[in-house]
Amino acid sequence: MVYEELKAIVGEEYVSKEPEELHIYSSDPGTMPATEPDYVVMPKTTEEVQKIVVVANKHKIPIVPMGGALALSGLVRPLKGGIVMDMKRMDSILEVNEKARYAVIEAGVTEGMLKAYLERNYPNLRLSTPDAPPIATVTANALIHGSGRLSQMYGFHSEMVTGMEVVLPTGEICRVGSCSISPYWFSRSPLPDLAGLFIGWFGRTGIVTKLGIKLFPKHRYRDVMIFVTENPSYVSDVIWRVAHTEMAEDITVWAQPRPEWAEGFQHTTIYITADSEEELKFKERIIRNALRDYIKQKEGGFLYLTPGMKATFLQEPMSQLVRFADVRKGGGFEYVGAILPVDLFDKAYRKGLEIVEKLGVDWAFSVRIIGRSHCMMFAYAYPFNRADDEDVEKARKALHETNLAVLEMGGIPWKAEEPAQQLILERMDEGAKILMKRVMDLLDPHGIMNPGNWEVK
């Protein structure tokens, strides 16, 4: 019955209840156990999304909207079955407003495609891309509070959203932001910020079908510097100093036990961009100057980068990062993306080492500075061998312990797995929880939207 109705909406070729599709859409590449949907559907238009929502309401069957399925924390696993809605057929770039620097896109537009489109058609514009593979969708990444190459300057990708079109859980189509009253998608202000009803909710409150996203100037020259320290207690100050110069476009920190030369060191990677070589050199000088005390006291120094290394670090997205999944020749990794104040770097770093030493897991830490060091996304990444159940379980345990440690430190696990969402909710202000529940109950009276996530008990 449901299948026939879905078929009538999207056409036979874009709906499936075959075991093969149900299997693939039951999990993402992370450690969370598989949970099968009953149907997979791929709409092409907002109207089709709307009709599917109406069908789901009629049959009281869950819907889980899905982008690239690369959150790794199992957010698009249908915890209570139902329909997984793969949004990637909605892949049109609807508008680029060059002067106002924003794009309006459909929900299935991937990071890779928008990047390539801008490079080809608007070479003076860029978007802030995450380090996720290019099939990640711009919309889903923004909706889960993703961050990327320009987050040090402009904040989380969710803060770059200028408006959205949403299909509400009850089937109405609405627009929020300036596009609700104007043909322009320039801003969410000065109206009540209704976009907040849909950002960070993991699809619990509606399905975003179109998104306005900020674009930024693309400069002609780009370079990378890596400042190395051997003492994690220096890193938050290093970050503070570099951010203070306002010369860096992006600041990340990474630490890992392999290759051998990297072990025991913290690498602060600083990206700079400019419109002339002179400007680039100037920025580089200012940054070097900001860190001169460390160099003088021999507590830190800039790593010599070969052209090959530079090319690797300058690649967007860095394909090197995904290769981490093959460290144990097992095709898996997952991370806790802890949002923390920058001055907790030392504590967070040492806590991470404690966990990996205790559990004997492989690891890599990777940090991105958000805003002018307003906070950081500290990723504790653990690779695992998918073919080895014990290894997967070990990684799962490391993730759980890391989530607990992050919460104890006063941080928030980003795009948390369902069990970690419960850890967050246990600690959440009661009033906030009541408000969350009220919002979900009000918007989604039949509880059809990605149930099982953000479940306020």
């Binding site: 070729e13 874009y14 499936s16 075959e18 075991p19 093969e20 599709e21 299997h23 693939i24 859409y25 993402d28 590449p29 997979v40 791929m42 690239g68 399925a69 690369l70 793969d86 990637k88 057929r89 991937t110 990071e111 890779g112 495609m113 990047k115 390539a116 489109y117 490079e119 080809r120 593979p133 290019p134 099939i135 394909s319 090197q320 995904v322 290769r323 999944a325 093959d326 020749k329 097992g330 095709g331 898996g332 990794f333 061998n385 998918r386 073919a387």
Partner: protein, 371 residues
């Protein structure tokens, strides 16, 4: 062809999706994913499905088989996968197909393909000698001209083959054909029917030995691939020989009118690295314009790995139809150097109703010779 131990590889795929794209991420370049859009229909999905089948989490079904055989083995995934096992991706699919074949589990259309190939030596089940119309029977000539199944039977392919024959005659190339030519088996091999491939290879090799074949010339990149990489015979693709003839002045060519664009066949380009010879020829005789997806980023016509017969990649958004639209944006003539691509594009142009000529490189050269 040896089966690889894919059990050691399939779980290493992260399903990151790099393999779906072209190098600059501007387009979905995996033909089956471009058509179906389900996550099952790209290399990552297939790797995970094979693992599930291997671990008995999934039973084989006609749908499973169709997913596996909708891969045209174009090697776009090999080119763009970021992992160290990238070179083995297509081998994994071929080996898994081989296990399916051994267990007697193949989709209906694939079964037909194999049966016809086994009984008649061609995928369509045509009987009779296939190259009787070529007057030169091989008699110890410098080259054995091997047409391959599509050029031998498809009407469009035959026209292109005739153009090649005329060019060879004009240049005084010493060649002959086996009028009773049989399939070299490339498709059987990539479709996992190793037994049939080996049988065809042995039969052909025996004939080559008996009739003292020294060198093989073929217009079919699929045949070229099998001869070069599995038969171990001295083989040239027609673009390679034709370029030599042009370069050495043995073929005098004028110019052809109109803008041309060149489509890299997967078995010539990504499988065997032949990209430049066709371009050298075309830039000498015409105004050559590149499509955005070219060379290692070429978008497969959707005909490889038996799909020209099974048609798992058909429909309004078939790779061939998408490709002729792309070609129409930059040129008036779409040139290729593969009979299967030629057949796929020829049909696609008719279906699309676009103003675009589809021609084999031999046909364009013949026109240039006569101009």
């Amino acid at each position: 062809m040896e089966k690889i131990n894919y059990a050691e590889i399939v779980h290493r795929c992260f399903r990151c999706g790099y393999c779906k794209f072209s190098s600059d991420y501007s387009a979905i370049n995996c033909p089956s994913y471009a058509v179906y859009r389900f996550e099952t229909y790209f290399s990552g999905g297939r790797m995970w499905l094979i693992r599930a089948w291997m671990n008995e989490e999934l039973e084989w079904s006609e749908h499973f088989g169709e997913i596996m055989y909708s891969c045209s083995t174009c090697r776009n995934c090999v080119e763009h996968c970021v992992f160290k096992f990238n070179e083995q991706l297509v081998d994994v699919f071929i080996s898994a197909r081989s296990d399916m074949v051994e267990k007697g589990l193949v989709p209906k259309k694939v079964g037909e393909f194999f049966n016809n190939l086994a009984k008649f030596g061609n995928p369509w089940g045509y009987s009779g000698k296939r190259l009787e119309w070529v007057e030169k029977e091989y008699e110890g000539n410098e080259f054995l001209l091997h047409a391959g199944c599509v050029a031998a039977y498809d009407e469009r392919g035959k026209v292109a083959l005739k153009a090649l024959v005329e060019l060879l005659d004009a240049a005084g190339v010493d060649y002959g054909v086996f009028s009773d030519e049989r399939c070299e088996g490339n498709e059987a091999m990539v479709m996992g029917e190793f037994g049939l491939f080996e049988h065809l290879m042995e039969e052909n090799k025996r004939k080559f030995e008996e009739r003292r074949v020294k060198r093989v010339l073929t217009p079919d990149p699929h045949s070229f691939n099998a001869f070069k990489n599995y038969y171990g015979v001295d083989v040239k693709h027609h673009t390679q020989l034709l370029w030599e003839l042009v370069k050495n002045g043995e073929l005098k060519l004028g110019r052809v009118e109109g803008k041309v664009t060149y489509h890299d066949p997967c078995f010539l380009g990504r499988w065997n690295g032949v990209y430049e010879e066709p371009r050298k020829i075309l830039s000498r005789i015409a105004s050559l314009y590149e499509m955005p997806r070219n060379r290692k980023n070429s978008f497969c016509c959707g005909g490889g790995s038996g799909n020209f017969y099974t048609d798992y990649l058909g429909g309004k958004e078939s790779p061939a139809r998408v490709r002729v639209r792309e070609a129409g944006e930059v040129a008036d003539i779409l040139v290729t150097s593969c009979p299967a691509c030629l057949m796929m594009f020829d049909n696609a142009v008719r279906d699309e109703g676009v103003e675009l000529e589809v021609r084999d490189i031999s046909e364009v050269m013949l026109e240039a010779m006569k101009s």
